[in-house]
Symmetry: C2
Subunit: 167 residues, 2 copies
């Protein structure tokens, strides 16, 4: 069911992580589990995928990932700050060496002038390493925005793959 | 990206829950987030979907959902007992009124004589109500088994929708 280019990218991320002996975890808001679903669509993914947090509501972001409610109040759930806090929170609450977090406006509702439909923040966190963040604005409808987010999240994992021993 | 019949079923579950004012949460092993992803593919799903737990590893099932390691050791991760414990654990760890949990052998590896590829256990738990469980054996490849599991999980949510005030 996933497009070929996403399956290829997921398989490549899993192969890189498995070769390095690293585990990953996901923290998803607007994609609602689709990043983890794309990864686990590949046979053998259990060697690499530890767990995933689908924090669709704001209270779930705080309760499951430790994102401070004040951070959500100040910057909004769709922000660089919250994406990074989600990735860092997932790292602290899993056995993963690398985590990826996504939060965005998938639409069709919920867009504003400063945060339009298609705005997505993706953060990665690496054990004993720095967190990274990137902002995107994807075109298209809800399904297109969610699929573009999955692709970008997998690309961020590919970019953030551990190069040194993290354990 | 989801087949039409799954989109229709997801939309119908969401409409029923929203009408009743109830929230739901998911706990997924073999589907790796695909049940929550199907639900959140429908616009407006945030009124109903609170959160999801992707507990791909056994340690994640225990840490995130409180499934006793001894239960996994005794019955195996793919069992009625673990599915029910996942659903009950998700209920206790969310704002949801109803939860659905899935654990199964998506293949192509991992099948045994007693637990063949395609064997899936789906459990639901309802606040102040009993937990329910059903066993399936789905045909086809990994993607077909995962999609059939998503459809069955949505049907179980449809069957388990609250009929009385749970709050």
């Amino acid at each position: 069911m996933f497009p070929d280019h996403i399956r290829r990218l997921a398989a490549s991320v899993l192969a890189e992580f498995e070769f390095a002996g690293y585990m990953l975890a996901t923290a998803e808001s607007c994609t609602g589990g689709l990043v983890a679903a794309a990864l686990t669509d590949i046979p053998g993914s259990s060697a690499v995928v530890d767990r995933g947090f689908i924090t669709y509501s704001n209270v779930a972001k705080s309760e499951l990932l430790g994102v401070p409610p004040s951070l959500i109040l100040t910057h909004g759930a769709v922000s660089a700050e919250v994406a990074v806090a989600m990735a860092v929170g997932a790292l602290a609450r899993s056995k993963a060496d690398v985590t990826v977090a996504v939060t965005g406006v998938a639409g069709p509702g919920g867009g504003t002038e400063t945060k339009p439909v298609g705005r997505v923040h993706i953060a990665t966190a690496v054990r004993r390493g720095p967190a990274a963040h990137k902002e995107f604005t994807f075109p298209g409808d809800r399904t297109a925005i969610r699929l573009a987010t999955v692709e970008a999240a997998l690309e961020r994992l590919h970019t953030s793959r551990p190069r040194t021993n993290l354990r």
